[in-house]
């Protein structure tokens, strides 16, 4: 059991054992975040490159801080792309970074499967920080870590994932990760935003959020990915909010002690109302804190040791 030198591309492909290893290390590392001097020398001399082809504040900063807290040096390469204006190929860009001595690449990309491609291009490990509509494995790991913080277990928990499942890499990674660890997942959203044959992934699918939320321990609200809505998938944000947004009424179907999660950034008043987002049941900021610890653990396991 080892992640050393390996890529972290998806939770679909990650073993439960490896997931648990990362979670348990993250548990130990979280303490560092509350120290006056938030730095351990573990990854001194290692260089982590954040290669971001899509805008991101949270994930990029989270990886940067994780690297810094572990004494690795983070460098960033941000580039907006579209199929229209191509310029240098991803393969060339990445090979250049590798040639400069980067030890690990964290990539965010707008195209699904790009991290799998990058892993074929590069000898150094690749960590997926979100690829198109495919996966966002580190987000799901931090989500699972946060759920464990509040519920101390995953097996048997009812998790409702609500909203734009079709375009959500967060939903996919959580579905793969949480089902592996024994949670019962239900998803709900407008039919146009539920991907085909989703139930074959071992989840229950509903078109009314209330049905999915009924008896849930965790209500996971997905961001409505306005930038990916290329077709007429729903008529208006107002209508979306009325039928699919999470508010006090819809949340009342969940268990009394249910927690509310969101991967950020939130569209307040669209997929989640402000009173819920800021309520004591919301653990959205805990997710952000956990994210740094989980990413420290990932860097530790992938970058430590020798080939």
């Amino acid at each position: 059991m080892s992640l050393r030198g390996k890529d972290l591309l998806s939770l679909r492909e990650m073993s439960q054992e490896d997931m648990e290893l990362v979670l348990s290390t993250a548990r130990s590392l979280k303490e560092i975040l509350s120290r006056p001097i938030k730095k351990v020398p573990t990854l001194r001399g290692k260089v982590v490159c954040n290669l971001f082809y899509e805008p991101s504040t949270r994930t990029k900063m989270s990886f940067e801080l994780a690297a810094r807290y572990m004494s690795a040096d983070p460098v960033s390469f941000a580039k907006e792309t579209s199929a229209m204006k191509k310029g240098e190929t991803l393969a060339d860009t990445a090979r250049n970074l590798e040639a400069m001595g980067v030890d690990l690449v964290v990539m965010r990309h707008n195209v699904s499967g790009s991290c799998h491609f990058l892993a074929k291009v590069l000898d150094i490990p690749v960590v997926n920080a979100g690829d198109g509509m495919n996966e966002h494995p580190t987000q799901a790991l931090l989500d699972i870590f946060t759920i464990l913080d509040y519920k101390s277990r995953i097996r048997g928990l009812k998790v409702a994932i609500i909203g734009d499942v079709l375009h959500s890499r967060v939903a996919r990674s959580n579905i793969f990760g949480l089902t592996k660890m024994g949670a019962e997942i239900s998803v709900a959203g407008p039919s146009t935003l539920l991907p085909p044959e989703i139930e074959k992934l071992g989840v229950k699918a509903y078109t009314r959020p209330e049905e999915a939320i009924e008896g849930a321990d965790v209500v996971y609200v997905l961001r409505l990915q306005l930038e990916r809505q290329s077709k007429s998938l729903f008529p208006s944000q107002r209508e979306y909010s009325n039928f699919f947004g999470i508010n006090r009424h819809k949340l009342s179907y969940a268990k009394e002690d249910a927690i509310v999660m969101h991967p950020g950034p939130m569209n307040r008043g669209v997929e989640i109302t402000t009173d819920i987002a800021d309520s004591p049941r919301s653990v959205i900021l805990d997710q952000v804190t956990s994210g740094v610890a989980v990413r420290m653990a990932i860097l530790y396991h992938i970058l430590g040791g020798r080939d």
Partner: protein, 435 residues
């Protein structure tokens, strides 16, 4: 002094005469001269090929290839494309008009034929565009192209998007007795799509292309074919629904034929996932599901599907070594088709040798209205010889084609093209080019 080629001792499989027996075949002056149990070579004037243990068939015709010339010679040209065809056991190829410029005038048709004369080692049949610039708006000069040597018409790469334009084209082509080959795709349903719509698109997060994007177009095309009475051929059908629609149309007497590619008969969309997003699995129409594959195989057996064509779509390495969405669609198919069909369909007993010859030789010749497809006396001396036992691994770096883009890398297959004879001239023998 006559020019003779004698192929001795092979099992001759000729669907035009339902022949299946060990015979010698004599080709004289480029034409089939005689088939008999034992033909003696005339000393000195006869080249003799030993075909013992081999299968001798009328030359295979690939009615759907992209030779990329003119305009995209960095992907393929007529020389490399036809050498790939010869290695793959094809004696003739029909090339699609999505070149630069598009093959939409008699001048371009003439240019392709001229280049073929200079560089091709198998027969090249140009397919002209249906509309000017393949833009789907105005009819191209199909009569002039027909006269210049175009064998069929298609806007392949794109569908004929307007039903009205399709209607006019099918009507108009009746005067020239040429077939219209449509690429059936409703572009509004497939927009942005990368792979088949279904479980695998859900798991991979790649945008899906539903079966219906093809079936809507197939249904429309069949209705227009019925309306006009024109000759319609549907390219690369890939779904269960498409073959059901075509089966019904044929039962009603609509003049329609269709083809299927080897990759749609063998692979499913699961390959995309298993290969870790290998862009060589990206093809249009996309690889479908097991249910579709089963339906296509059934349709081969019951005659709904008339032909196997490769849709040979060579691309440069750089065009595939990119993110999935940015990669070109297409598979380089000429050099793998015959082996894959033997290994996956003939040897397992899904079709027999006779059916294979019908799908890859006789029917394509008939649909396109070109010579060949038969070993009857007087027919062109175009022959494909198959080694049914040769076992080897598919290695794209050995391809004659410039396009190394295949999802079949490393596949171990049994059965291979052993000889390719065009007009009595040996262009490939014993897996080596003779030109």
């Amino acid at each position: 002094m006559a020019d003779h080629l004698l192929i001795k001792g092979g099992r001759v499989v000729d669907p035009s005469s339902k022949t299946d027996q060990v015979l010698d075949v004599l080709i004289t002056n480029g034409k089939i001269a005689r088939l008999a149990q034992s033909i003696e070579a005339e000393n000195g004037t006869t080249e003799v090929l030993d075909a013992t243990g081999k299968i001798v068939m009328p030359g295979f015709i690939d009615m759907h290839v992209h030779l990329r010339e003119p305009g995209f010679e960095y992907k393929e040209d007529i020389g490399t494309g036809t050498r790939a065809a010869a290695m793959g056991g094809f004696t003739a190829v029909a090339c699609m008009p999505n070149t630069q410029p598009a093959c939409d005038t008699d001048t371009v048709v003439g240019r392709i034929l001229e280049r073929a004369k200079q560089t091709a080692c198998v027969r090249v049949y140009p397919i002209g565009a249906v509309t000017k610039g393949r833009a789907g708006k105005e009819l191209a000069e199909m009569g002039e192209m027909r006269a210049a040597g175009a064998v069929a018409f298609s806007d392949d790469g794109s569908p004929v998007t307007s039903a009205e334009v399709l209607r006019c084209a099918l009507e108009y082509l009746k005067s020239f007795d040429a077939v219209l080959i449509d690429h059936p795709e409703d572009l509004s349903l497939s927009a942005g799509g990368q792979i088949n719509y279904g479980l695998i698109s859900t798991v991979t997060g790649l945008r899906g292309i539903p079966n219906e994007s093809e079936e809507v177009a197939v249904a429309r095309d069949l209705l227009i074919a019925k309306l006009t009475g024109g000759r319609l051929h549907l390219a690369h059908v890939s779904t269960k629904g498409s073959v059901e629609l075509i089966r019904q149309a044929k039962a009603k007497g609509i003049r329609v034929t269709c083809e299927v590619t080897p990759h749609h008969l063998i692979l499913t969309d699961e390959t995309v996932l298993e290969s870790g997003y290998d862009t060589n699995t990206k093809v249009n129409p996309p690889l479908r599901t097991q249910e579709d594959v089963a339906a296509l195989r059934q349709a081969l057996a019951d005659g709904t599907i008339d032909a196997i064509a490769t849709d040979h779509a060579p691309h440069h390495f750089d065009e595939k070594w990119v993110e999935f969405d940015y990669a070109e669609f297409g598979i380089s198919g000429l050099e793998t088709a015959v082996s894959l069909i033997i290994d996956r369909l003939v040897l397992p007993g899904i079709i027999d040798w006779m059916k294979m010859a019908e799908l890859m030789s006789l029917n394509p010749a008939r649909i396109l209205g070109v010579p060949g497809g038969t070993l009857e006396v007087g027919a062109p001396g175009d022959i494909t010889i198959i080694d049914p036992e040769l076992e080897y691994s598919i290695l794209p770096h050995n391809f004659e084609s410039k396009g190394k883009n295949t999802p079949f890398v490393g596949w171990r297959v049994t059965g291979a093209p052993y000889g390719t004879i065009v007009g009595g001239k040996v262009v490939m023998y014993d897996r080596r080019l003779a030109v």
